[in-house]
Amino acid sequence: MLVPDNIFFTKDHEWAKIEGDEAIIGITDFAQSSLGDITFIDLPKIGEALKQSAVYATVESVKAASDVYSPLSGKVLRVNNDLALHPELVNKSPYESGWFVVMKIADLAEKNNLMDAKKYKDYIENLSK
């Protein structure tokens, strides 16, 4: 299971890559592999407010529809429009071309509620036990 360094994770399998006061967010490799083939992604609109741990997107796969929670609070700056026609990007490349949203971070201190790569690796290893 792919867990890149230098990005942050939630226990619900979202990731955030923090660059200054912005963050790119998406779902992890573990999430996409548990969901199976993704068929539709409902993303928020630009300007929409995001709240840490609150639902901001929905992912539908052949198995189920699942809520996606925001790793940080802030505001949507850009959304990945490619996902509308190519939801499979999330399966193929969850950390790169399968990103969901770029957000403006409201409170960088919220980062402390997230896991780093090492902690997240341990976390998912425990889950599959």
Partner: protein
């Protein structure tokens, strides 16, 4: 197989009309006429009969195969109820008849069925009254949540959220959200129960209701159900009972006695009417005394002289939920089923449903992981995670079962079980059928180690092979075009 549109031949028809002996009427004004051709298939009566007979032969149903679809209670639908529903006195009256002046007297039989069915369902569930209007389970849920909302509003109480466990049917949060509530999800703890500590934290005077399925979707009866209800009532919240799993507890316990305020039933599940493509559902909603005033109108009531009439006097009603009186023929078939089985029969049905599920559980437990290892109620939930180590998913096992002549169990639900396989055998299956199914499951488990490719390529014996579900969802092609 060809579509009926592809069988069309220009000018061929399935009828012949005599020469008209009345004056030709004016044609419809242009604005009412269609602009494009309807392009209906032009076929003979025989073409139509063969086409639909062929389709019917492809159908996979309770009448043809064992159908252990968890959470759906696909029990046998006894045929005598069809005869009763077809009786002229029930099938021919126009639904407007009882609403016409003096029409009630012409519809006494039908009104009595609705009235008496309401009493029977109230007795079975321990509720004070029922509306028979909702046309399906999810429709009943929405009705129930609207009743809850009307109740709180009339008490001047503003409540914002509904508490739902993460093992719930997906329709529960959907119904709550459509009725305007936020949904607070309570996780399942390691023992397979509603997490009581998190529940207590989530519960407050903004809680409108707690929606539960009991036994839950893991097939487990929550022993703390009374405590959950008492805690909810203490903060003024109502208790909602999702009746999908009522088949486990008929005559054993009643939601009303536990403290549930609203109950929806799926007559097409518990009370054996055809469903899942075989017929429409019916989702009557029962309420405790404090909610009667809000029930949809009309309600069937009884006069002092013993006759029945439609009562529209419920001032606080939430209004119409469906035209007329619900899916009358479905209600009628369920009514006939309840009367035929009687009290003892219904209790026996539940006992055998639970016995059959536990038989499947105990015979399959050595071959599949059992995430919550307990005596189950009417259904048991396995996980294919052991088979997944060889690359075999629950989906592959499900497809293999089709080749073996079984409808697959529900898979990937409840969502909290990885690679879930949810088996609900129901009471109407013989031990021989259960044994054959169990053998097929054991065979699948062995193949997952010895020759997983067979499972990956299943089904091989069906008119269509493994369908590309991903492509069907990503590029839906829903309409035939010439």
């Amino acid at each position: 197989m060809q579509l009926i549109f592809e069988k069309s031949s220009s000018g061929r028809q399935g009828y012949s009309l005599p020469k008209s002996d009345v004056p030709k009427a004016d044609s419809l004004p242009g604005k009412y006429c269609r602009v494009t051709q309807a392009n209906l298939p032009e076929v003979s009566e025989l073409d139509v009969v063969r086409h639909f007979s062929a389709l019917a032969r492809l159908n996979f149903s309770v009448d043809t195969n064992f159908y252990p679809l968890g959470s759906c209670t696909m029990k046998y639908n006894p045929k005598f109820t069809e005869k009763i529903a077809a009786l002229e006195g029930f099938s021919s009256p126009h639904p407007l008849v009882p609403q016409l002046s003096g029409g009630g007297i012409l519809a006494q039989g039908s009104l009595e069925v609705l009235y008496h069915m309401e009493r029977l369902l109230s007795e079975i569930t321990g509720m004070a009254a029922f509306t028979m209007q909702p046309l399906a389970g999810a429709h009943g849920e929405l009705t129930g949540v609207m009743l809850i909302s009307a109740y709180h509003k009339s008490n001047g109480s503003r409540r914002k959220h509904i508490i739902i466990p993460d093992s719930s049917h997906g329709t529960n949060p959907a119904s709550a959200a459509i009725a305007g509530y936020d949904v607070v999800v309570i996780p399942t703890d390691k023992s397979g129960s509603f997490d009581m500590e998190l529940y207590k934290k989530a519960l407050n005077n903004e809680t409108a209701a707690v929606m539960l399925t009991c036994p839950d979707t893991l097939g487990l009866f929550n022993p703390k159900i009374k405590e959950i209800a008492d805690l909810a009532h203490r903060v003024g919240a109502l208790m909602y009972y999702d009746g999908a799993n009522l088949n486990a507890i008929l005559g054993k316990c009643r939601p009303g006695d536990i403290g549930f305020d609203v109950v929806h039933l799926n007559l097409h599940k518990t009370f054996a009417t055809p469903h899942g493509g075989g017929g429409p559902g019916a989702g009557p909603v029962g309420v405790s005394g404090k909610l009667i005033d809000f029930l949809p109108i009309s309600r069937v009531a009884k006069k002092d002289d013993g006759t029945y009439f439609l009562d529209y006097q419920n001032r606080k009603t939430i209004g119409y939920i469906a035209p007329f009186y619900g899916n009358f023929a479905v209600i009628l078939k369920a009514y006939a089923y309840i009367l035929a089985l009687g009290r003892e029969g219904l209790i026996e049905a539940s006992e055998n449903a639970v016995l059959n599920a536990n038989y499947c559980l105990s015979r399959l437990r050595d071959y599949f992981d059992l995430p919550f290892d307990k005596i189950c109620m009417h259904e048991c939930v396995f996980s294919a995670s052991r088979q997944l180590q060889n690359g075999v998913h629950a989906l592959d096992i499900a497809k293999y079962l089709i080749d073996k002549g079984f409808h697959p169990p529900t898979i990937y639900f409840p969502l909290i079980v990885k690679e879930a396989m949810m088996i609900e055998p129901t009471e109407t299956e013989s031990k021989e059928t259960l044994d054959n199914f169990i053998e097929a499951m054991i065979e699948a488990s062995k193949l997952s180690e010895e020759n997983p490719q067979i499972l990956h390529s299943a089904p091989l014996t069906m008119p269509v092979k493994r369908l590309d579900e991903t492509r069907a969802a990503r590029e839906p092609n829903l309409r035939w075009k010439p």
